[in-house]
Every structure is written in C-alpha cells, then in structure tokens.
Homo-oligomer: 296 residues x 4
C-alpha cells in the first residue's frame, strides 16, 4: 500500500520503518527534518509537507497530543484539505475521545475514512514490530487496514465501530498504569516505614501475584527513587489523566482513583516535577509519611 | 522435626500434609475434628487440644484472624502456657502487626521463640507446596526453620529481624490486590459506557502490560459480575484493609487508596454484600455510572 | 449613568430594577421578550438586541454560563463589536476564570474597559439590593463603577486588579457551599444510623457552632430529603465545581474535596438527578450506608 | 444535689465552679492537686481520691480521652467499685461510642445509672455556664439531671435513650469542624494562588454565607498560618476523627471526607505537627500547591 506516516518520534519512526520492511510504499513527514532523512536512508520517500504525505491510500499519524493532531489535520495544508477521496486516516496518537469524534465527523464530511488505532508498547516494541494495536472504526475499513496493523504490531484488537472507543481503551490503560504507580507508592511507603527493604519487597511482589511488566518497571523506579531521565514525563501523565477524566465526565462515570491521580499530578508539577518521569507520583506517599526509623 | 500444626482450614491442611510428606513428625489440631482425622489418615498424629499440639520443637498456626490466634495462644491450655522452653511458634496467619508484636513479646517472656511466616498463594498452592513464604524474626531461629518453609513453599523471603515486618508485607500485598480490584472496576465501568466489551477489554489488558495473575483472576470476576461463591469473602477483605490502615496509623503513613477501599468495603457490606467475594468492590464504580447506551 | 443590562433572569431583573430605582438611565435586553416588558413597565428602556443595550457608558451582563456570556460578547452584534470607546463591561455572571481573562484581553484590544463583579446572594437579595458584590479590575474603573455596585448591593469587596480574581472568589464560594452539603450529608447519615433525629441534630448544629445561613438552608433540605423544586439545579452545581477544578488546574492547586464533589455530582447526574437541587449531593452518603436500625 | 466532679482541666474546672455557684454541694478530684485547691477556695470539698468523689448522688467526669475515663471508672478505687446504688454517672468527656456503651452496661450491672452529656463550647463558655449540653440516657434519669445541665450550660438537647447517641453527636460535630478546616484550607490555597488576599477573602466569606463562629475562628488561624499555641492540639483532632471513623465502621457508614481528614492528620503528625493546633490541617492544601505568583 501507499502509506504516508506523519510524526517520526520514538514511536512513529519505528512504525514507519516496519511498514517499509513489510514492503509498503512509505512516505514520511516530520516537523524536524533529521528524522525524515533517517527514514529515507532505509527506503522511505521524504515529504516536505503534511500534504505531500497525503498522496497515498493511507495516512497514519503518530503525534504527541491533541494540539499536534489538530494542527496536522485541520491546519493549512492539513490532511482534511489534502487527502483524496476514500483516503484512510489512521490515528495512532493518544488523543481525547472528543478529538477522535471530531476527526471522524470531519473526515466523513470530506469524503475520507477514519480509523483510530492507538498502540500499547514502548519505543523498543515499536522498533520490533511488537506493538499491540487497539483499533476501532467502520468494520470494512478496519479490515482493509489489517496489513498496516500486521506490519507494526504483534496483535490487533478490534473493539468497536466507533473510532473513539479505541482511544478510550488506550486512555484507560494509562489510567491503570497510573493506579499501579500510586498503589505501589503507598505500599512501599508503608513497608519502608516498617523496616522492609523496598527492592526486596518489589522482588516478593513480582515473584508472586504481581508478575506483570508494569509492576517490575515502575516498581523499580519507585524503589530506587530514580525519576530522571523521564521515560514518560509527568506532564504527559497529567495530560492523559485529564483526558480520562474528560471522558468520564462525558460518559458520567465517577472515577475516584483517577480523581486522586489528578490531584497527585498537580502536586507533583506544583513542586517542580515537570522534568520527572510520571512514576514520581509514586514518591508522594513516602513524602507524607513519618521518616522511617531505620533511616534515622 | 516434631511439628504441631494448629488450624486445618483450606490452607493449613495442605501445609500440614506437605510437612508430613517432607518427613516431619507432625501433630495436628483443629477446632472441628473431621479435618484432624483426614490428616491422621495420611500420617499425622491427632491432637485433642491445643496443648497436645505443643509438644514438639515447632508449633505452626494457620488461623482465620487475630481473635483465633489470640485464643489459641493466650487462652486456657494455649501455646504460651503449654509449649516448652525454646519451642518455636511459627505464625502463618494474616494478622495485625499489633498482635504480631504482642506475640513476639509474650513468647520471649515465656522463654519461647517466635517467627512470623505469612504466605502468598491460594489453597491449590498450599496443597502443591508452592506457596511463597515471607518470614521475619531472629535470624538464627528463622534459619533453623528453613526445613519447614522448604516443605510448604516454593520460595522463602526473609525480610527482617522484627517478626511484624512479615505481617506488614502480607497485609500490604492484600492492599495491592484491593487496589487492582478497585482500579479495574473503575476502568471497566468507563470503557463499558464507551461501548467496549468488558471481556475483550480484559483480554487486551492481560495480553499486554497487565499480564499478572491478579488481573486475570479478578478482572474476570468483575467483567462477569460473578461474585458468588466467594473465594475470599468481602468481610475478610474489609478486615485486611482495616489492618493495613491500623498499621499505617501506627507508622503514620497516609494511604489514600486504602482509605478509599475502606469506604468501598463499608458500602459493599452496608448494601448486603457480606456473602460476596471481595472483588465485588470492583462493581461499585459501575453502580455509580450512568447506564450504558448499548445496554439500553 | 447610562447602563445597559443584558440578562433578566431572577438575578438580573432584580439588579436592573434597583439600578432604575437608584436613578440610572437603564436599557434592558433579554433573549425572551416578556422580561424586557416587565422592566420597561418600571422605567427601563427596552432593547431589541444586544447591540441596542451597548449605547451607554456601562453594559452589565448577568447570564447563566460561559456559553451565554461568550455569545453575547463575541457573537454577531455582540458587545465587542457594538460598544463605544471606553465603555465599561461589568460581568456579574458566574463564569470561568479562563473566559474572564479572555474578556479582559478582548475588551482591552477593542478599546473598552472590563470589570468582573460577581455577586453573592439569592434572587430575594437581588430584589432587595442586598447583594454582596465581589469585584476586580483596573482600580480607577472599579472606583468609577461604585454607583452601580451601591445600587445593587449592600457591600462591595474589591479584591484585585485582575478581573478573574473576582470570578475565582465567587467559584470558591460555591465550592465551600458544596463542601458544607457533602459534610452535612455524611454527618447526618452517621447520626441517623446511630438513632438521632436528623432535624433535631440540625437544630443542635445551627444553635451552636454552625449558625451560618448555609447550614440552616442546606441542612434543612438534606434532613427533609426535599430536593425538588431545585433552587439551584444539580447540573449548575456540577458545572461550577468543574470551573473550580479548571481554575485549580491552571493554578496547580490540588483540591481533594473538590475532586470528591465532582465525583459526587457525576454520580448524582448519572442516577437521574438532573432536575434535583444540588443539595441532593448530600443524600449520597446515606444511600451508601447501612439501613438504619430505627427505620426498620 | 451532692455532686462529685472528676477532671478539673480547662473545661471541668469551669463546670465545677458553676455547679457550686448554682448551690450544689460539690466535691472535686483531679490527678494534680493544684486544681483541687483552686476549686476548694471557691467552696468545693476537696477529694483525695476518685472514690472520695463518689459519695454523692451524682458523679460527673470531664476527662481527656477514653483511657482516662476507663482508668477512673474501672481502675482500683474507681467509680464502678466506689459509687453507691443508684448513683448517676454523667460522662461529659469526648469518648468513643464503644466506651460509652461499655460504661452503660457496666454501670447497669453495678446498680448505677449512666448518662452521657458531652458539651459543645470552649473553656470560656464553660466558665460562663454557656455550654451546649447534648445528653442521652434513660429519660427519667436524664430528666432528674436537669439541674446539673442548667448549672453548666445555656441549653440542653436530649437526643436518645441510648447514651452513646450523645457521644456520636459530639464526635460528628468535631468531624464537621474538621471539614470546615479542610475546605477553608483548600479554598484559601486556591484564591491565594489567584492573587486574592486571604484575610480579605475570609472577610468576604464571613460577611456573607459563612457567618458562623467556626469559620471566623478557624479561618483566621489558617489565613494567618498561626497554629501555635494550640487551642485544640492536632493529636486530639486526629483522635476524634479516629473515633468518628470507628463509629462509622460499626454503623457501616462510608464517610469520604472523614477518611480524607484521617490521612491529613497522619500527614500533619508525620511532619512534626504534634504541637500545632488542629487547624494546621488547613495549611496542607497550600503546601501542595504551586508557589503563588504574588509571593515571588
């Protein structure tokens, strides 16, 4: 397929490379040119503008946030104005369900097709074509995009005909990670005050009931209090929890842990935590606890 | 070793059987006689009273709660008055850190030794000698008990010289499970309102970042809203969260998610949930949310 | 002064009438004409459009929410395009601090002056010229508006040179009322379960430390469980708590009780409470509690 | 009446003095002798022991907490063993509903009568016979105690035949004060960051909807950040919130604001706040917020 990829950050670059490897004809665009050249070196066609990346049957966007997706889609020379009839826009960014619905409507009005396909996985998984793809949209369009999903991921989940449902799943996943961070932060503050070594404690947890990668990764960061450099920065976590709460607002679902997380992120940012990894939220419980005896 | 085992519930019976298999000389006591006879049939010496089970070098208790352990230890004919000098009391029950400290002091005063050794694992793991043992106490005593731990579990973690630290680890583990239940309950209420199938959602979660058994087990119960029969009843969950908060009170550690869980359990019990599995706490978020469109 | 008043609801109508009584030359506009005619009967000049109400030195808006103020100010024929140089726009509506800042900038760019002047008090106080006016803006402009404030209120508080500070005070006041509702709801649920009559309990409270009107008014509604007709409907309370949280977001202030209130309102609305008074939030604690013994 | 008064702290001393002024024959006991002598100088009979204070028809206790009341009642030479048949024990201390029930049972078994009569009001009100008395117990006994209540307070509320109901009302009152402290702390943190002066803000609040003394008193302390010397120390506030939650546990009433307050007090104490007034809980929201622009 002829595919345009817009957004060549850590995630998008890996996805584009894998689309090339799978034999697709891939055009790439990025705001800063260096990334474009890197991909061109492995077989991509470089694009000088968003509109240049909209000439194929598919345009896939992998960008940082709502603002970036909005600019690329609705701005001058954006996808809405540049893409041909029946072009499929696959949006893989973590965006609000509000924007997802707006994209679906605008593309329908412009004669395009729209599919949401956010992914679970870190940059290494993107590079290894091992992402998990959660997708939603009109079933025939989604089915037609199978070769794209197969090229970038290890497994694809089709969750709904409504594209925004896939975004909701992605956001809720980040909420669950946030919940793990906060609960581990509380548990570690508690056992630390009781004289238990935090690393050994984490070893017990991850050897038993909590063997999931998310416990190992974030538990290790919290136990070591090592929040720099940020793998996923606190303002991004804050933003995603805000998007979860916005979705909950629209769907009228009270989410007490999400509300707690919002306050935790505000506090972290208010105390200068903008540059820290979002797992630093897991250090706040310890900050509020009595100094541990054994550290005296 | 000559070992008395007191408490032959689903957990204790399996542990006693494995001690016998490992070649120990095991005497068993239980409030109701039937369990004693079952174990006698596989090689245990039956005891008619707590004191009869206190004749060996070790007495291991595996009971339901603080009250049961208190009665067996401090009551008439209890362990304190019946055990000989240097007898080791291994307490595997999930009890408060307050009682654990009290046991340590009382046994020291009586010339006994005391080790806490709560376990992670369900009855099947107890039967298969596959428990995870978390233990704490004087290091030489703990070291001397290695044959006991090896007989009942697959791995032993020694966490502190202070026996109550092991109880704290156990309680904090139940707190983390409670956090998983609540967070899954919130996430599922949200995506369900957004039109996503809850079972498919759980499949996505457990295929990706949340592969731990605890997500599979409790997520499945919440998705199916199947809270009977109770594997671990709501009042027990409520009690354990209460013990976590009591420990947090003593150690002065604010735990907002634990506070939330306490209120959730109170609500569940207030609405008649005594007979439900504790994962029913994960149904409360959905109860508060707007009826989902797709269920209309 | 020549003053245009836009928005003749329960509050605005009383304010306009008092401006007339105080001798000002008042032009009135309202979306539905009936209110205009009522005011015309007591001396107001009727206006057929927003722009007709923008011919004086002052235009005062008293509208339901951000959308209404936005439409009246920035819409076709709105205040921005219609008002003359140096016209003062007094905004008395309960609006977001974001909109307040936007209004200040837009009016400055258009050569107008802008003052925020939200009020505390119910329709009866508006009718009696007994409102409390909280105002903020450039000090000379605020000072020049003294005759307006004196005509509608019993006391004026000048809080800042930044107009949005007055909106923040107003919003925070509604947050505090919400806190009273929730805390009274919890306390009444508790004593009710303990066998104490809720009305007598409220009498004790308001005879002693809690003599403020807000306890009497809302406590009475909660004790009687009388939430219809709505004096201030739940969706408006929900909206205001949302505006408080939006301000807290911008200023980076974690507000745990506000977060709780947000979830309470979502739950109330999700269970069909749109038509109820916002004090119905105070009935949720009782809903979660065990049925009281004495009501059995 | 012949009345023994046990506990001559700031509250009890004033109550005893007023009983003397009202013409009663008052015997006083206190752990430290100085207070006894002060009261003796104004007409009290000094007692050397608790039992000496139990010779009359009534013994009134006004002590710091459950432990003190337990010691005085059940200890060697305590009220249970010393008081004659039909003696009335009036307990005015702020105690748990659990202890209140225990006292009622023990006194009934010993042939005594028991009435709870906690009071609202500070030491100045106790000195001025201006307390509010909340009482519960068998109606004839309560009625017979009217002269006592009239001597110490300005108004008496009879709430139940169950003595513990009066304790519940008292505890819930302290919970409501705690709610005011927390909500004011949040609101002031918010408006302060928005550039509003906290004292002026409080003036606005207390001039309008929040005219109750509790807002003036605690709001002033929070605005001034003046938490020493402690009028009511943080550990006492913490203890009372604990008693509220214990009551809520027994009655199965989830109380989210009380749970929040418990965590707030733990945090305050963990950071060295034992010597501060309990209103220092109202400073925590500001601690978590971004530094305000205007303080830079």
């Amino acid at each position: 397929m002829r595919i345009g990829v817009i957004g060549l950050g850590n995630m998008g670059a890996g996805m584009a490379a894998n689309l090339i490897k799978a034999g697709h004809d891939v055009t790439v665009y990025n705001r800063s040119r260096a990334k474009v050249d890197e991909l061109a070196a492995v077989g991509a066609r470089p694009a000088d503008s968003v509109s240049d990346a909209c000439r194929g049957e598919v345009v896939l966007t992998m960008l940082a946030n709502d603002d970036a997706v909005t600019a690329v889609t609705f701005g001058d020379g954006g996808i809405i104005g540049s893409a041909g009839q029946d072009t499929v826009h696959i949006s893989s960014s973590t965006i609000s369900i509000g924007l997802s619905k707006h994209l679906a409507e605008a593309h329908a009005a412009a004669g395009h097709k729209f599919v949401s396909a956010p992914v679970f996985g870190r940059p290494e998984a993107a590079a290894a074509a091992a992402l998990f793809v959660v997708t939603a949209g009109a079933s025939d369009t989604v089915a037609a995009m199978t070769p794209v999903f197969d090229a970038i991921g290890q497994r694809t989940f089709v969750v709904s005909e409504d594209p925004s449902a896939a975004n909701l799943v992605k956001l809720s996943g980040n909420f669950l990670i946030g919940s793990v961070i906060e609960s581990l932060g509380e548990a570690m503050a508690l056992v630390d005050r009781g004289g238990v070594d935090k690393h050994q404690y984490l070893d017990i947890l991850t050897s038993t009931l909590f063997s999931a990668p998310v416990y190992k990764t974030y538990g290790g960061l919290i136990a070591s209090e090592q929040f720099e450099p940020a793998g996923f920065a606190a303002p991004l976590g804050h933003k995603d929890i805000g998007l979860v709460l916005a979705a909950a607002e629209e769907l009228r679902v009270p989410l007490p842990i999400a509300s707690l997380l919002r306050d935790r992120f505000l506090r972290l940012l208010a105390s200068g935590g903008d540059h820290l990894d979002w797992s630093a939220v897991g250090s706040l419980a310890a900050r509020d606890a009595a100094a541990s005896d054994h550290s005296a």
